[in-house]
């Protein structure tokens, strides 16, 4: 190719990419930078800003509640990521077998994922209501398993568990969907070869299925970590006393009058942590 042609192609390429770069710059890069800028200010409602340097960071990092919510977030992440991945994998392997009404069953599994958060949350709250709920009615009045009524969602010790269970129930279908899609493309002869080598079902899973699914599993875990570190609505609607990082941010910054400086500070730290986590994960686990 002549050098003129190469130059022309390059400039055409630039022109074609420019709108996308512009949009990303406007919608992604600019807010991040503005957020970073705001985190050094005390922002008032009428728009007045006072430069406070690192004060927002200092007061946040010296707040014991912040570390508490980091701890809650870590537990929430571990519980939900492992839970959805394992349950999604199990469901996908089950649904990859052939049986009658398989297509119907495959569809039904997706239902929790389709249902609007707000409606299922109220359903769960109704189930666990301490005075009128079905759970207490069954456990205390019908089955007589215990004498005392419990508020599983309200009690801070059990609330985290309920929130994790809710998230697993609500979001395992997306993991299931991704796993099932990949499972269907695993060549049958791999399993046949493993069977000839004398592998039982467990061995076939361990030596064929898992290596084949490796990248999908890694992707699911990555997506779940990103989503759940930032997940607000499920937790806040179901049990607002479970203070994961987004809920903590909400109480610090948006409950009552908005404190934009603090909010920006928290999200800057959260972004940095998330970027570091993902970088590590991509390098070490995905080996991209």
């Amino acid at each position: 190719m002549s050098s003129v042609l190469i130059k022309n192609e390059a400039s055409l390429g630039l022109k074609l990419v420019a709108p996308a770069v512009g949009i990303i710059g406007l919608l992604v890069v600019y807010p991040i930078l503005f957020n970073l800028y705001l985190s050094f200010f005390d922002v008032q409602l009428n728009g007045n800003k006072t430069f406070v340097g690192l004060q927002n960071y200092q007061s946040l990092l010296s707040n014991p509640d912040y570390y508490h919510s980091v701890g809650v977030s870590v537990l929430y992440l571990i519980g939900t990521v492992i839970g959805t991945t394992v349950l999604g994998l199990a469901a996908a392997i089950l649904m990859n077998q052939s049986f009658r009404f398989r297509n119907l069953a495959r569809g039904l599994i997706l239902l929790p994922y389709f249902a609007p958060v707000i409606s299922v949350v109220f359903g769960w709250q109704f189930i666990f209501d301490p005075v009128n709920g079905i759970y207490n009615h069954m456990v205390v009045d019908v089955l007589h398993l215990t004498d005392t009524r419990e508020n599983l969602i309200g009690n801070p010790d059990s609330a985290l568990l309920v929130v994790i269970l809710f998230d697993i129930w609500k979001h395992f279908p997306i993991a299931y969907l991704l796993f099932l899609a990949k499972l269907q493309s695993v060549p049958k002869d791999l399993y046949e070869a493993a069977a000839i080598d004398g592998q039982n079902a467990w061995g076939r899973f361990w030596h064929v299925t898992l290596p084949e699914l490796r990248f999908v599993i890694a992707t699911v875990v990555l997506l779940r970590v990103i989503w759940n570190l930032n997940r607000f609505e499920d937790v806040y609607l179901l049990a607002p006393n479970v203070e994961t990082l987004p809920i903590f941010t909400y109480y610090q910054a948006f409950a009552g009058l908005v404190d934009q400086g603090t909010a920006a500070t928290i999200s800057v730290i959260q972004l940095l942590v998330l970027v570091a986590l993902i970088w590590l994960y991509v390098r070490k686990v995905l080996k991209w």
């Binding site: 109220f122 005075v131 309200g154 948006f254 009552g256 009058l257 908005v258």
Partner: protein
């Protein structure tokens, strides 16, 4: 042909200029109200439509915003430059917004001048006055809170009316039977404004305060600590877990002996239709919880005043707040709309949405025969004497914001940040040590005041 063309152009020009002139006269009032129930919103819409019919070119857009969300929503609106012209919300939030410099105090002054300052209840106006003497809001309606209780159960067990700390505790203990899903009392333990309201009344009866007359923070005191400990004591008779104003449902179902509530409960107690509406959750329209007990209104008594070291009733005002706007047409229309809302005909229509719950802030309205003849007949059911007793708590409404006739707007910001409810939640639900929780709350209050 050219003649014809210029004629058409002329007509277009004429219509468009007409259009523009009518646009320039058009004013829009966006009105945010804390009355989010659909029947109340319909009522307010009706008032708005009436006002529109009387005022050409003015549109009023009514939007219901949950009281707990009002401060946040306002902040978002200010940031986005879409501030409403008028809001109706409780006095704590009004004081917090007033300090943010977004409130149109000139319009408030103009309305007061037009209506006449002496026609307002003086205490109500004081509550919304800024430290410099301007008005952050206009008092519109108010309620008082007290303990509503099952008189028949109290009589059966020989219990005294729950008007002192000792009586409350004795009754709470006597009426609790958790094995049978029966509870003596409910005090708020969720991190919301109901908890703050219950706590405030008990704290005031123990002479605890946020500020002294010099404006110094005196929240961390033995009196406050004692109140927190008493509160924790009472919370053990609650249904399990964090609780809030849904206490009302448990009481209507006959599962609870006493609960703190405002005079808003009056129509729920008296009228089957209203009670049914309350019991069926807004999220489950088909769900009607339990049957209505027609004897409930007779078997219910009210203790508006709690006495420990001093007698305390607690109540709160809701006010109208005009927000600053650059558009003078909007400002004028907003002022007209506020004055329209104070006109006896529309005022009584508004107050009748919750007979007893919304009490008038203008003198003379309460004695108006039209006011006493509410469409549901609630005032008749209760009778004039009971009404008088209920409203008696209203003459001396106290709060943390007003000390010795002076207002402290910082208490509004403390309210908006839910410092007290979070403290109560930490103690009653998380099991945190009361003194440690109090220290933490005080530190937070100081941080808010220094901002």
């Amino acid at each position: 042909m050219t003649h014809c063309k210029s004629l058409t152009l002329g007509a277009v020009w004429a219509t468009s200029s007409l259009l523009f002139s009518s646009l320039s006269q058009a004013a829009e009032i966006e009105f945010w109200t804390a009355q989010t129930q659909s029947d109340r919103l319909q009522n307010i819409e009706l008032l708005a439509s009436t006002f529109e019919a009387l005022n050409d070119g003015v549109t009023v857009k009514v939007i219901g915003v949950d009281e707990n969300e009002m401060a946040t929503q306002m902040a978002a609106a200010v940031a986005a430059g879409t501030t409403p012209q008028l809001i109706e919300v409780n006095s704590e939030i009004i004081m917090a917004l007033g300090e943010e410099g977004i409130v149109d105090t000139d319009t408030h002054q103009a309305v007061i001048n037009d209506i006449g300052k002496q026609r307002f209840h003086a205490g109500a106006l004081t509550t919304l006055t800024s430290p410099t003497g301007s008005y952050y809001g206009l008092p519109y309606h108010g309620w008082i809170q007290g303990i509503w209780y099952r008189k028949d159960w109290f009589d059966e067990k020989g219990l005294a009316a729950p008007n002192t700390w000792q009586n409350i505790k004795t009754a709470a203990k006597a009426l609790t039977d958790k094995a049978n899903n029966q509870y003596g009392i409910l005090v708020g333990t969720k991190q919301d404004s109901y908890t703050e309201q219950v706590f405030t009344q008990l704290a005031l009866s123990n002479n605890a305060a946020e500020f002294n007359a010099q404006g110094e923070l005196i929240f961390n005191s033995p009196a406050t600590l004692e109140t927190i400990e008493f509160y924790k004591d009472l919370a053990q008779y609650n249904p399990p877990g964090p609780q809030n104003w849904r206490a009302r449902d448990y009481y209507l179902q006959g599962k609870m002996g006493m609960f703190f509530y405002s005079t808003y409960i009056m129509d729920d107690l008296a009228l089957a239709e209203v009670a049914k509406g309350s019991l069926s959750s807004e999220n489950f329209a088909e769900l009607t919880g339990g049957t209505f007990d027609p004897e409930l209104v007779k078997n219910t008594a009210f203790a508006p005043i709690i006495t420990h070291k001093s007698a305390a009733s607690y109540g709160t005002l809701s006010g109208l707040v005009a927000l600053k706007t650059a558009d003078s047409e909007d400002q004028k229309a907003t002022q007209d709309f506020i004055e329209f809302l104070y006109d006896p005909a529309s005022y009584i229509t508004f107050l009748h949405m919750a007979p007893g719950g919304m009490n008038p802030m203008l003198k003379g309205i309460a004695e108006d025969p039209v006011y006493l003849n509410d469409p549901n007949g609630v005032f008749k059911l209760y009778g004039a004497d009971k009404m008088k007793q209920i409203v008696s708590g209203f003459d001396d409404i106290r709060s943390f914001s007003v000390v010795a006739g002076k207002t402290f707007p910082a208490s509004g910001e403390i309210f908006a940040k839910s410092v007290i409810p979070r403290m109560i939640y930490d103690v009653t639900i998380q099991g945190k040590d009361p003194q440690a929780a109090l220290d933490a709350a005080e530190a937070e209050m100081k941080a808010i005041m220094n901002e």
